[in-house]
C-alpha cells in the first residue's frame, strides 16, 4: 500500500506578491495620491487640503471627509515635528521588520497633524516627550518606493 503513495513537490517558499507588504503602492497606475510620493522623493512631506472647507486631511485623500468635496490641493507639512509619544519595539515585529529590532516608533506632531512614524537612529532611553524630530525619507532598495520617517 505504501508504495502507492505518490510524493508530490511543493515549493520550499511561496512568494506572496503584495500580500504582506506594508508599504503602499505609489505609482499612478495604482493610486490617485501618487503625488504624495513624488513630493516625498523631493524631500517634501505633504498632504491634501480641501479647497472648499480648508480641512487638512491625513492620510492624504481624494475626497474630503469633512465636506465631500473632491477639489483638494497639496500642502507642505514642513520637516520638523515634535515627539508626542514614543516606544521601542523589543519583540514581535511583523515579517520584513524583524531585522530592524529593536527600533523606536513615535507619534509626531507636525503641521497640526499627529503622524505615526518610525523614529530612526536612536534608542528609547534617549528620547523624551516634546523633543524635536526631523523628517527623513527612506527608499526601498528593491523597487524604489519611498516612505517618511523621522530622526533625532
Amino acid at each position: 500500500m505504501k508504495d502507492d503513495i505518490e510524493k508530490i513537490a511543493q515549493p520550499e517558499k511561496i512568494t506572496l506578491p503584495q500580500m504582506l507588504d506594508f508599504y503602499p503602492l505609489e505609482d499612478e497606475k495604482n493610486t490617485r495620491i501618487s503625488q504624495f510620493f513624488q513630493n516625498l522623493k523631493m524631500g517634501h512631506l505633504t498632504t491634501t487640503k480641501c479647497k472648499s472647507c480648508r480641512s487638512v486631511l491625513w492620510p492624504p485623500r481624494v475626497v474630503c471627509s469633512n465636506c465631500m468635496s473632491d477639489d483638494l490641493e497639496w500642502v507642505n507639512l514642513g520637516t520638523e515635528g515634535e515627539l508626542y509619544a514614543f516606544t521601542e519595539m523589543k519583540a514581535g515585529a511583523p515579517l520584513g521588520f524583524e531585522k530592524d529590532l529593536p527600533f523606536c516608533i513615535g507619534l509626531v506632531k507636525i503641521g497640526g497633524l499627529l503622524l505615526s512614524s518610525r523614529i530612526d537612529g536612536v534608542r528609547y532611553e534617549d528620547l523624551k516627550i516634546g523633543q524635536k524630530v526631523q523628517l527623513k525619507v527612506v527608499e526601498l532598495e528593491n523597487d524604489g518606493r519611498v516612505f517618511y520617517r523621522f530622526k533625532v
Binding site: L20, F22, Y23, P24, W58, P59, Y84, A85, F86, T87, E88, M89, K90, A91, G92, A93, P94, L95, G96, F97, E98, F103, I105, G106, L107, L113, L114, L115, S116, S117, R118, Y124, I129, F147, R149
Partner: protein, 388 residues
C-alpha cells in the same frame, strides 16, 4: 423591539490548543447545544460568527457556512461572519440580538472562533499589524502593543499613572482567572513578577499584555417570552451602546481619554434604563493593563486620570465599587479575538446563575456590562445584561 434573552451557551478551553479552527468551532458548538434543553440545530434560524482574521490565521474565508455545516445548522433567516477585530464576537452578539429583537427570527446563535497560534508566529504578529490603518500606521510597525504602550506613556505623562498601578490590573485579573477552568492562564502573578517580566514595548511588559489565544464559544438568543422553553435561568439583554470616532491615529478624538467609550456608556445606560451605580459586574476589555485603568475613567467610576488610584484602593475588586473582570479578563483568560465577547457573556450568565467558584462569585448580581474595544481604541462596543 422585542426583549431578548440568552438561554445558554458553551465554550472551549482557551489557550494554545492542539486543534484546528473548525475543531474549536465543533467543541464550542457541542458545549453550546449540550447546555440548552429543547433546542436542536434545526431550530436555529440565524447564525452570526464573530471571527477577526480567519483568512489570515487559517487561510479560510466564508467561515459562517463552515460553522453551520460543522454544527448541523441550516440557517433560514440570516447567516454571516462579523468582523470588528477585537470586538468581532460582540458584533455577532449585537446582530444576533438585533435579529431576534426585530422579529426577523426567533432563534439566533452568536458564535465566535479564533485560531491564533500558527506554525510561524512571526506571521501571526504580522497579521496583527494590519489592524490599524495598514498603509499609514501599520507600515510603521504600529500594531496594538506599541499603540497601547504610547497610550500608557501619555497617561503616565499627563496623570502620573505608574507602572505599579498598571501591574495591579494584571495581578487582579490573573487572580480571578485561576478560578476559571477554561482560562488560558492559571497562575497568580505578583506586582514584582509583572514589573520584571520581559519588556515588549516600554512601558508595557509581557504581563501587561493579553496573550495570543485559540478559543471558541457560542450563545443562543431567543425572545424573552420564549426563554422558559429552554432554561429556568435566562439572562436578559437590557441595553447596548456602540460608538466610533476615527480610524488612523491622526483622527482619534484623544489618545489619553477614550471619548467614544464615554459615548457608548451613555447610550448603554440610557437604553438599559439604569445608572452607573446599578452595575454589579463589568467585563471590561483589558487587552493591556492601561486599557482597564482608562475604562474605569471613561465609565465614570472615577475621575479622568484617577484609574490607577481606583485600583490601588481596591475598588474594581469583588466587594468594591464594581467587580471588574471577575472572569479573569483578557489578561487572565486569553483573547481569542472573535470569541472574547461571547466568552464574556457566557461567564456573566454563569455569575447570574451562581455557577462560578465562590472566590470569584459576585453575590446577588443583577446587572452586568460587557465591553470590547477594537482598533486604536476608536470603536467601543457595550452590552448590558440583566438577571432573567
Amino acid at each position: 423591539m422585542r426583549k431578548v434573552a440568552v438561554v445558554g451557551g458553551g465554550a472551549t478551553r482557551c489557550g494554545k490548543r492542539e486543534a484546528t479552527w473548525r475543531e474549536l468551532a465543533q467543541e464550542a458548538g457541542k458545549a453550546m447545544f449540550d447546555s440548552v434543553m429543547n433546542l436542536s440545530p434545526n431550530d436555529v434560524e440565524a447564525l452570526l460568527v464573530g471571527a477577526a482574521q480567519p483568512e489570515r490565521f487559517t487561510f479560510q474565508v466564508h467561515v459562517a457556512p463552515l460553522v453551520a455545516e460543522c454544527l448541523g445548522i441550516k440557517p433560514t433567516k440570516v447567516i454571516a461572519k462579523t468582523e470588528l477585530m477585537c470586538a468581532s464576537g460582540q458584533a455577532a452578539l449585537r446582530y444576533a440580538w438585533a435579529c431576534v429583537a426585530s422579529g426577523l427570527c426567533d432563534v439566533a446563535v452568536a458564535f465566535g472562533v479564533e485560531k491564533m497560534y500558527m506554525q510561524n508566529m512571526a506571521e501571526a504578529q504580522t497579521n496583527m499589524t494590519c489592524v490599524l490603518d495598514r498603509e499609514w500606521d501599520g507600515v510603521n510597525a504600529m500594531s496594538a502593543p506599541p499603540f497601547f504602550a504610547m497610550t500608557a506613556q501619555r497617561h503616565m505623562h499627563e496623570f502620573e499613572t505608574t507602572e505599579e498601578q498598571m501591574a495591579l490590573v494584571s495581578v487582579k485579573n490573573h487572580h480571578y482567572s485561576t478560578m476559571n477552568p477554561i482560562a488560558q492562564f492559571q497562575k497568580e502573578v505578583s506586582i514584582e513578577k509583572v514589573l520584571q517580566s520581559f519588556m515588549i514595548a516600554p512601558p508595557l511588559k509581557l504581563f501587561d499584555c493579553s496573550g495570543i489565544t485559540d478559543g471558541a464559544a457560542g450563545v443562543v438568543l431567543v425572545p424573552a417570552e420564549d426563554a422558559s422553553k429552554y432554561t429556568d435561568t435566562p439572562m436578559l439583554i437590557a441595553g447596548s451602546g456602540q460608538a466610533n470616532i476615527g480610524n488612523a491615529v491622526n483622527n482619534l478624538a484623544s489618545i489619553s481619554e477614550w471619548i467614544p467609550l464615554k459615548l457608548a456608556v451613555r447610550e448603554a445606560l440610557r437604553t438599559a434604563k439604569i445608572s452607573l451605580a446599578d452595575i454589579d459586574i463589568a467585563e471590561l476589555h483589558d487587552c493591556f493593563t492601561i486599557s482597564e485603568l482608562m475604562e474605569y475613567e471613561a465609565f465614570g467610576w472615577c475621575d479622568r486620570g484617577k484609574g490607577g488610584k481606583f485600583i490601588e484602593e481596591g475598588e474594581p475588586y469583588i466587594g468594591g465599587t464594581v467587580a471588574v473582570n471577575p472572569r479573569g479578563g483578557l489578561l487572565g483568560c486569553g483573547h481569542p479575538l472573535g470569541a472574547t465577547a461571547i466568552l464574556q457573556s457566557l461567564d456573566i450568565m454563569k455569575q447570574f446563575q451562581g455557577d462560578v467558584p465562590s472566590g470569584r462569585l459576585v453575590k446577588d448580581a443583577e446587572v452586568a456590562v460587557a465591553h470590547n474595544l477594537s482598533g486604536a481604541a476608536n470603536v467601543h462596543s457595550l452590552m448590558v445584561y440583566r438577571r432573567g
